[in-house]
Assembly symmetry: C2
Homo-oligomer: 458 residues x 2
């Protein structure tokens, strides 16, 4: 531990500068206009893996953005850790709400502000630097394989193909991912559950052209009004989702599981204060932790239609659109939910309009075990580094590839994230605490150490 700390201390500034350089690349995978920047980011990651001592570094082409692979096989008899992460980021919109530009990383109050600071560039780069540290201090206790992709924020659709085609190369004993949060630095935690995702885009079309709302208003169905009515009907008065068969495969938690979940440190008043809201919202009969961790949800991620510029325009628009996504829990299938959503949404459209439903991407929910060697290694690493026992939590987010790794590679995952819920992922002013960044770099080598030891002891 002392050696680790002194290496980090000695290289602190460089570790930060390199991360800043990584954060400057505008690697927005959702928007084609950033294409060149995304590709440059892959090049940078590959170079840094090489610099740190990785072998067989390759920028693997896919039908979309490339996957960066690299490895260090110390000894085939040692256990192998497959590190997964992503170098792409969410779009930075709305730009005007950023205090400092999203792609000009800025240090404020001990925090790094930039798109991707936490999700996932900051967290992925901890692994690169922890790897460098183990190489330079000759302490690499496991074989290591890196697989860093550039399409996580748009559904990882080419990763599945890559994983299926590279099963031999990706052989490992566990997948290690840092793309989740802890409760806090005082309450270190490990996520053991992730929700799945079905992301849809809907379009409601009324008249064949935008109309004058005075001449036609009141006589022709307004697609915005219709879309609003359709969206409004998706939750009932208890905020229960109304899509038939939506909850059919959802398993209710046992009383004991509920109790354990709700025992995690959580202060509802602090939560409301942080978000500046008077009341939380959600499905009747469930606590906030249950709502985000164990229940499927439906959110409108975007809506647009008609005139949205300055001032007033009296238009009855031809169409209105929305992006709607659902988070899924174990036993729900992304494809199945996408299908029943589309069927339901089409069925509730009145005859006055035409409706089009297009699925974006999806992903399956996952629950990771807490009785594995890998989970124990993570627990021991946290005990060493934080001096506290990690609390297992169920997160609300989705990392669809966790289910994929299990299905294709037969591998379980450890979600070893160092972010915080307050890091404003996917929002303006995303940040990552310097403390968490360095703490991650210090803690990860301990995982490798303990994972090797636990495997050596059978």
């Amino acid at each position: 531990m002392k050696e680790i700390k002194s290496y980090v201390e000695a290289n602190k500034d460089r570790f930060l500068n390199e991360l800043f350089e990584l954060l400057r690349f505008q690697s927005v995978s959702a928007d084609p206009k950033y294409k060149e920047e995304v590709i440059k980011t892959a090049d940078y990651i590959a170079q840094k893996l090489k610099d740190a001592g990785a072998d067989n570094v390759e920028i693997c082409a896919t039908a979309g953005y490339p996957i960066v692979y690299g490895e260090k096989i110390v000894d085939p008899s040692l256990p192998t850790v497959l590190i997964y992460g992503h170098y792409d980021v969410q779009p930075p919109d709305p730009l005007e709400l950023w205090e400092t530009p999203p792609f000009e990383p800025t240090l404020r109050d001990g925090k790094i502000y930039a798109r991707g600071a936490c999700d996932d560039k900051g967290q992925v780069y901890m692994h690169v630097k922890a790897f460098e540290l183990m190489m330079k201090t000759n302490t690499l206790a496991c074989n290591v394989k890196f697989m860093i992709e550039g399409e996580e924020e748009v559904g990882s659709s080419n990763l599945g193909i890559f994983v299926k085609a590279n099963q031999e190369r990706l052989k490992a004993d566990v997948v290690l991912i840092s793309d989740t949060s802890m409760i806090s630095m005082e309450h270190p935690s490990i996520e053991v559950g992730l929700r799945g995702l079905a992301y849809m885009e809907v379009e409601v079309v009324g008249p064949n052209r935008d109309l004058h709302s005075g001449v036609y208003g009141g006589a022709v169905a307004n697609p915005i009004t219709i879309l609003c009515k359709m969206i409004a009907s998706l939750h009932d008065e208890n905020n229960h989702i109304t899509i038939p068969a939506f909850y059919d495969k959802v398993v209710e938690l046992s009383d004991a599981e509920k109790e354990a979940l709700n025992a995690a440190p959580f202060d509802l008043d602090e939560y409301k204060k942080d978000l500046e809201i008077d009341e939380v919202w959600g499905e009747k009969g469930y606590s906030t932790l249950e709502r985000t961790g164990t229940r499927p949800t439906l959110e409108v991620n975007g809506i647009w239609g008609g005139y949205i510029g300055e001032g007033a325009k009296t238009v009855l628009p031809s169409k209105a659109n929305a992006k709607i996504s659902m988070r899924l829990v174990p036993n729900q299938s992304s494809e199945e939910i996408a299908e029943i959503f589309a069927k339901h949404f089409e069925s509730i459209a009145p005859k006055n309009v035409k409706v089009k439903v297009t699925p974006h991407h999806g992903g399956e929910p996952a629950v990771t075990p807490t009785d594995s060697k890998a989970y124990k290694a993570a627990e021991m690493a946290i005990m060493d580094s934080f001096g506290k026992k990690a609390i297992p939590t169920r997160g609300g987010g989705s990392i669809p590839i966790v289910a994929l790794f299990e299905e294709v590679l037969g591998l379980k995952t450890v979600l070893f994230g160092f972010g915080l819920d307050s890091d404003a992922l996917h929002s303006p002013n995303e940040k990552y605490d310097l403390y968490n960044y360095y703490k991650g770099i210090e803690t990860l080598p301990l995982f490798h150490k303990y994972f090797a030891e636990l495997n050596a002891n059978g």
Copy 2:
């Protein structure tokens, strides 16, 4: 009539070229970025009035865009016609739907395509050219005053101040406006009713920042969902508006009035075919003509919130907005309706969000008489020019200043419009038929002629 026709024929091309020049100015009053263009448009109108022979032409400054004034007093004992129109236009969005650019007027199939082609540059310019014709052929039978403003599309808020301050200068016997439509060229008509307007902008604010929809979704109220629920509740299952007291002052038409209104030529199948819709929509118990002509309505003119770019972003946005306008019928007051809307909208907001309601502009409804000399003069002009008796109709649009002229100047208005409902006012590909443009220039001098004659005969 023959002399009129030959003058128009001889000057046809110039009349069109001058209109094209007028249409090229991007006089969008709603958006400050067009400011210079709006002002240039006023200059152009003023110059053309001078060229046509108007006296005392003045570009009258206001707190907003200027009002162009000009006059020709032939003989104080003759009746005076105050011609009103506007040189500003609606924003051209969505730009991508225009077949040819909105500010590059283009002739296609005998139609002029451009923003403002019909509303109102094309129609206002008919008056300028009809005035030129009467001056050049020495047939001006009435005194004429022009008042052409640049803020009609944003609520004419400075016109009221101007009119109040210039009551002497604006003294006249009737107001003549061409800013409305006819049923068709085969069924010439005169609008005798206009709806009022209350235009509101609403904002629903949830959490203080955009959130990750996985981490917070299902536990924090989504402002888009809440806004949709609020908008959905504004119409009941009969498409009746649910705002308390909204209909209190609305007067139901008598059976005889209803019968007269529904006797106007109207083909519902053609209407649906033109808009490519399977079903019309509207308040239960009323025909399409009643819905647009005699009933108040509420339309969402725009909505936006969350991520509206390419691809998928899993955000739970901090806020959502909408532009909502109501068309009003006689006895409803714009200010009062704006107030009860705001009160109602705030009252239906759940505690999980904060709501802000901002009124844009408003205007009062108006009904114009059909037994006046001015209406008769218009009817006679149409009989001469079209060979048919004009049908009185009640339009769905709003020209709020009609009520203002009556209140401040004590003047009735004749709505002598030559547009068509299919002109795509406020929409992409706005057009004005060449035929209608020239027909207007030919018909307007007849109005002046008959109005002078009817007044001379007492």
